[in-house]
């Protein structure tokens, strides 16, 4: 290699400049985040970020626009992840790193124990802004799940998940089954009755249509009917011997064995497509599922769906909280926003638009007479209201959601691969052990 003699000096300089640039770039990132919390006191323009999963329905119900009108100078920006598992993963990563967090973060009820017991320090104690005064507005169980032992309040409840059964009137009719929701509720007063109707449906069902979307949803909704599921009240892990878990598992395995399921993976693209195409006739539906059905089936489903009482009694599946992370930029403004969003009037609006059932007690009485034209004018206010009233107060554990996910996975093995139920159950136990560590 031949280099002209005059260049080395220039090249050293060039190298030094390049190196300095790299070092400066490496140092530069650390200093930017220091002044982040200054927005708390300032009265000027504020942009609040809201990070959610699934369908909370705030945008759809026009609540952000309303809030912005009521509070000039406040802008709201929402991000949304469809799958809660993905959402939780990225939230945990950002909490550990302390950066990239929104002013308002949603937390699913299956995760709230983990927040209250392990991560209380990473969220703002809402008492300092006077949240204590709101206690009477919420159902006691909903309120206490987001509170720590030493009295911190880490989140305000948005919705709860009282359960019902959604079904397709047109498919029922084609298979010669009754379509009236009261009659059906009587026929499937028990889960055995539901499975029996399923077998009748299968005999005369339209081609390509199954009774149930997946046995995973059957399992989830049945587990939701019980008080004690994966943990006992002392916080000990009991899912292996829990009668509730066993009953739900057995019924799900039976439904899979009888070929009643469309074998779809919930929240996957084929599942989404099946809402419009009619691949399944029934879908166990917590209240928040109504908005999801409307979103997926859209106009093709208008008037075809209906809602009836759930077999085997009332239950609860899901529901969420809004929380403010300690690393949020505008904590006080964020609190004002979530206080407003979870107030009874706003929860009522979301229910009427989206179906998410309110957790604010003041709101429940306002919606008792609500009907939904999309669901053949089903009296959803009464159906879900009764379910919410009768649903057991569940024992929440640290890893409820992780355990549910692993059991659901094992059920898919039975459903789609024909794995023997005993093998699948032992796989589920191994997977739970692996997940909990």
């Amino acid at each position: 290699m031949s280099i002209p003699r005059t260049t080395p000096r220039a090249m050293v300089r060039l190298g030094a400049v390049a190196l300095t640039g790299v070092l400066l770039a490496a140092c530069g990132s650390g200093s930017g985040s220091g002044g982040a919390s200054s927005g708390d006191a300032a009265g000027g323009d504020v942009t609040l970020t809201v990070d959610l999963f699934g369908a909370f329905g705030y945008q759809e119900s026009g609540l952000y626009a309303e809030y912005e009108q009521l509070h000039p100078g406040v802008k709201i920006k929402q991000t949304d992840t469809e799958d809660e598992q993905d959402y939780w993963k990225s939230l945990q990563t950002r909490l550990a790193g302390g950066g990239g967090l929104a002013d308002v973060q949603a937390v699913e009820v299956g995760r709230i124990a983990s927040v209250a017991q392990q991560q209380a320090g990473k969220f703002v104690d809402l008492n300092q802004y006077g949240a204590g005064a709101l206690k009477g507005e919420f159902a006691p169980a909903k309120w206490s799940a987001a509170a720590t032992k030493d009295g911190k309040v880490l989140g305000l409840g948005t919705d709860v998940g009282p359960e019902a059964m959604c079904y397709r009137r047109d498919l029922f009719q084609a298979a010669g089954l009754p379509t009236d929701r009261t009659e059906l509720a009587a026929r499937w007063a028990t889960w055995d009755g539901y499975l029996e109707l399923g077998r009748q449906y299968k005999e005369k069902a339209p081609a390509g249509s199954a009774w149930l979307d997946s046995v995973g949803s059957l399992n989830a909704v049945m587990v939701g009917q019980q008080k004690e599921r994966y943990y006992d009240a002392s916080g000990a892990l009991v899912y292996e011997n829990s009668p509730a878990v066993k009953a739900a598992w057995d019924a799900s395995v039976k439904a899979a064995g009888d070929g009643l399921s469309a074998k779809l993976d919930q929240w996957s693209p084929p599942w989404n497509q099946a809402f419009a195409s009619g691949s399944f006739a029934t879908l166990p539906c917590p209240a928040w599922m109504l908005g999801y059905i409307k979103g997926q089936a859209a106009d093709a489903g208008q008037g075809k769906w209906d809602v009836a009482k759930l077999p085997g009694g009332a239950g609860n599946w899901g529901g969420s909280y809004l929380a403010v992370p300690s690393a949020a930029k505008h904590k006080k403004e964020a609190y004002e926003l979530i206080k407003w969003l979870t107030a009874p009037e706003q929860q009522t609006k979301v229910f009427r638009k989206q179906g998410n059932f309110p957790s604010a007690t003041g709101s429940i009485s306002q919606i008792a007479d609500a009907k939904d034209p999309y669901f053949s004018d089903a009296p959803i206010g009464r159906i879900f209201g009764d379910a919410a009233e009768q649903a057991p107060v569940q024992v929440l554990g640290l890893h409820d959601k992780d355990i549910a996910d692993q059991i659901n996975n094992a059920l898919s093995e039975v459903e789609r691969k024909g794995t023997a139920p005993e093998t699948a159950w032992s796989n589920a136990k191994k997977a739970v052990k692996n997940a909990l560590g």
Partner: protein
Amino acid sequence: MPSAEPPAPPAPLTARRPPRPPARRRGRPAALSPYAFLAPFFTLFAAFGIFPLLYTAYVSLYRAELQTPGELEWRGLGNYTALFTDPFFWTALRNTFTIGVLSTVPQLLMALGLAHLLNYRLRARTFFRTALLLPYATSVAAASLIFAQLFGHDFGLVNRLLDLVGIHPVDWQNGTAASQIAVSSIVVWRWTGYNTLIYLAGMQTIPAELYESAEVDGASRLRQFLHVTLPGLRPTIVFTSIVSTIGATQLFGEPLLFEGSMSGGISHQYQTLGLYMYEQGWGFFHLGRAAAIAWVMFLLIVVLVGANASFSHRRSVRRRTRKEAGR
């Protein structure tokens, strides 16, 4: 550069001409300049390569959880020994191996054949070469999502085509072999063109006279390929097989995006080591265990690449001695 010192100034032709300034003053910066050039790389490498590597080793000795990052609990080699009795780890290791073979072997063989064809005088040669690189330029995410559609059970194109020739639909997601073949096919599709171009470059360094004399000797095209092209390509083949081995051991994006599940299918049937590490770390938040898996993968790659290199070295030594003995 062979030597950092610049050559000594030539001896003065006449005594009247003043001597050049001493070499030392000019020599010092010149001697440093290579280091200055190397420094950016090594600074970045230390910050983003060495440090994470060592910190991962440190974390792998503790029980570390993402949700409680402050509480490290000493486990010694516990995270490593636990892997021996971890059925999911062995499944992932086996899957990594089978998917690695299923993707690397056809990929390299096809690349070799394609390169041989492209080495002939063809019309629109540049077009074909550019087209070959297109899959490589596609993002993993896009490719995996398309393939997931193609391999769908009910509406996938692959099953429809199979149906045309009277074969029952295959469950490409849930079957063990089927899902591994499906995942491998994404890898094969993406990397075959890339390897083809590397082989093609290697082939063009083989002197044309060798082919001419082989042709004079009456060797067929196939014989030319076997006896001229393949030996000439040996170093290139070693290079591609090492790179592919590393790639196969780290395989992550394709299986993750195939169904969008971290567990690699409902029975972990196509979960690779990379995916298992991700599931432990970012799905279950067990950072210590994930770090241990990362180090096991690192050591595995070192061993595999070492074995690969020593194998090819030994073969070439044997070949050389055989040639010399024959002379």
